[in-house]
Symmetry: C2
Subunit: 348 residues, 2 copies
């Protein structure tokens, strides 16, 4: 950990970079008085923005980078040609101990590939996963993987369950997170081989989590579980299907209030309460997908983030550092993996 909590920022990542990155850091600066920011980006673009915010500039450092990774770059190409990019340099700052976490609104695939390459995984993790959190009927809920791993075997799913529950405990403060495996039914015989095998393992090992078994799509946000575990294909579809439905509901609600004069008057009276509803469902509030299973904290802000959303992603990174997420995950995986590794060593 750097002397003062330091967040490396990919100033060139995202649809509205570098503006929203600098503005987002300014919002974060007010929220987290102790933190420092290390900007990586084009000096000609970023410096004028920082110059206008002297309080932010006072706790920031700008490192010039001449290159950026576009949204269309394939992860493999980013790995080959991205070494002088703002994203690469920001991740490298974490690896070198200059920063405690990195936040980027850039290309997700590239961010994951470069993070894996530079930061590597702790012992016991085969593949990192992308986790996100959003509202549920009982507060907040975590889901992973959201798209890093299209196909997953049982071991991957078990590791996701462990990593997700550590995140829920150390960052969200849930004591014994209830973890569910996403499936098409609650019965043991349901689903594909990977989820059935993963359920068998999760039932048999002793972990500081409560494995509730299989859950269905409607359970993700019902509050039935704190952590939903699934492969990256299904998780990505479930998340985006929920986002689309939430948008549809808000659109239908908008149309409802235009339905009649009475409804319009009702809207005016209920407006303050309805704006709270809008805030509660605001995806910007839940911005900041975290990469779990790396030797470093990488947070992905939505590509279409505005400054407010980007500040929330910085907040997630700060939370993970302050709650010692990396230490917890190393410790618990250490505890989980030895027998297996010994067995492998014995066979080697």
């Amino acid at each position: 950990m750097a002397e003062r909590l330091t967040v490396a920022l990919d100033a060139m990542g995202g649809d509205a970079a570098p503006d929203i990155v600098v503005q987002g850091a300014e919002i974060a600066r007010e929220r987290f008085p102790g933190a420092r920011y290390l900007f990586f980006g084009d000096e000609a673009e970023v410096k004028p923005l920082l110059d206008r915010l002297p309080a932010l500039a006072a706790v920031s450092e700008l490192r010039h980078t001449s290159d950026r990774i576009s949204g269309e770059t394939k992860p493999s190409a980013a790995l080959r040609t991205g070494r002088s990019s703002s994203m690469w340099m920001a991740i490298e700052a974490v690896q070198q101990g200059e920063a405690d976490a990195v936040v980027s609104a850039g290309n997700t695939g590239a961010l994951m590939a470069i993070s894996k390459f530079i930061l590597r995984m702790p012992k016991g993790v085969d593949r990192p996963a992308i986790a996100g959190f959003f509202p549920s009927q009982r507060g907040e809920t975590v889901m992973l993987d959201l798209g890093a791993n299209i196909e997953c075997d049982a071991e991957n799913l078990v590791q996701f369950a462990v990593m997700g529950s550590i995140f829920a405990r150390s960052v969200l403060g849930m004591e014994r997170p209830r973890v569910g495996l996403l499936n098409v039914g609650a019965e043991e015989m349901k689903g594909n081989g990977a989820v059935r095998a993963a359920a068998g393992i999760l039932r048999s090992i002793d972990l500081p989590l409560e494995f509730v078994g299989f859950i269905e799509g409607n359970d993700i946000m019902s509050g039935a579980v704190d952590v939903t575990v699934t492969d990256g294909f299904t998780g990505n579809v479930a998340l985006k299907s929920a986002e689309g439905t939430s948008r549809l509901c808000m659109e239908f609600l908008r149309q409802t209030f235009h339905h009649s004069l009475m409804a319009k008057m009702g809207y005016l009276l209920a407006k303050p309460a309805l704006s709270k509803l809008r805030q509660r469902l605001d995806p910007r509030r839940y911005n900041g997908a975290v990469f779990l299973g790396l030797n470093g904290v990488t947070v992905k802000s939505h590509g279409a983030s505005d400054a407010y959303a980007f500040a929330n992603a910085i907040g997630v990174a700060v939370d993970m550092v302050q709650h010692g997420f990396l230490g917890s995950i190393r410790e618990e995986l250490e505890h989980l993996s030895p027998p297996d590794d010994d067995a492998k060593a014995a066979h080697a």
Copy 2:
């Protein structure tokens, strides 16, 4: 087709059977004056219900069955031991030409297994799929498969695309349905092998549908497509995730209107419009999942259906019969499959 449009009903299927089946048929009787109903169920339970509804009894026939398939029965067990069940006999009535369609609120897996066994698939279909429709920003949208096929190859997905678009055209009256393949991104390189290969086939063959390529979860209900094609695992999760989110939104909305006195007054003024919103999102309105790819019309009503929802499922069955869905699907698959089959024959 039977002389008068006849719907076979599994009177013993569903949580509240046989009550909701008989009450649902009574609602349907008023909506579809020409139709007849063939009830399969326990005479001791069903006859008293019918006796109280003479207008329904006049267009109905009751066949006694002594057995029923429970919600917990595995499909394989249902196939082995279910021959004298209400579900089996109702499906058989379709195969024997006594009924034009069958509707059941019973065990989905058993209904699919017995339907496949008795009705079989038309030439060109390897696996039937479950399709459902629900609201979108631009009207209605169809998605399949919703859970019949946990793992699917490219050929399966292509057949689902064809069957789904025929359903959208013949039953929902869409002229040239826009069909999308559900994936984790719009780029060609995204997703697993099956979706990439299916996209290649759909781009290359000439069909009366507009293949828009890959779509993401949020596109299902945005109105970007009329038909969403996916495997049964992903489709089931996406559907239920959307249902859960819609429920969460309505719950948050309810809480919003309890927030303050002003909000409560606003609610009273907007109440008629809000009840329209509730109707619009009411899952009972979209009840009736259709099994596509069988030589017969099988419609699955939700297990927790009430009479109103069950009547809507009967309505879907009536629509499919009246729009000649089976004829359309046979015709188009015939048109689609010959080259392949000839090739196979030449190799035989």
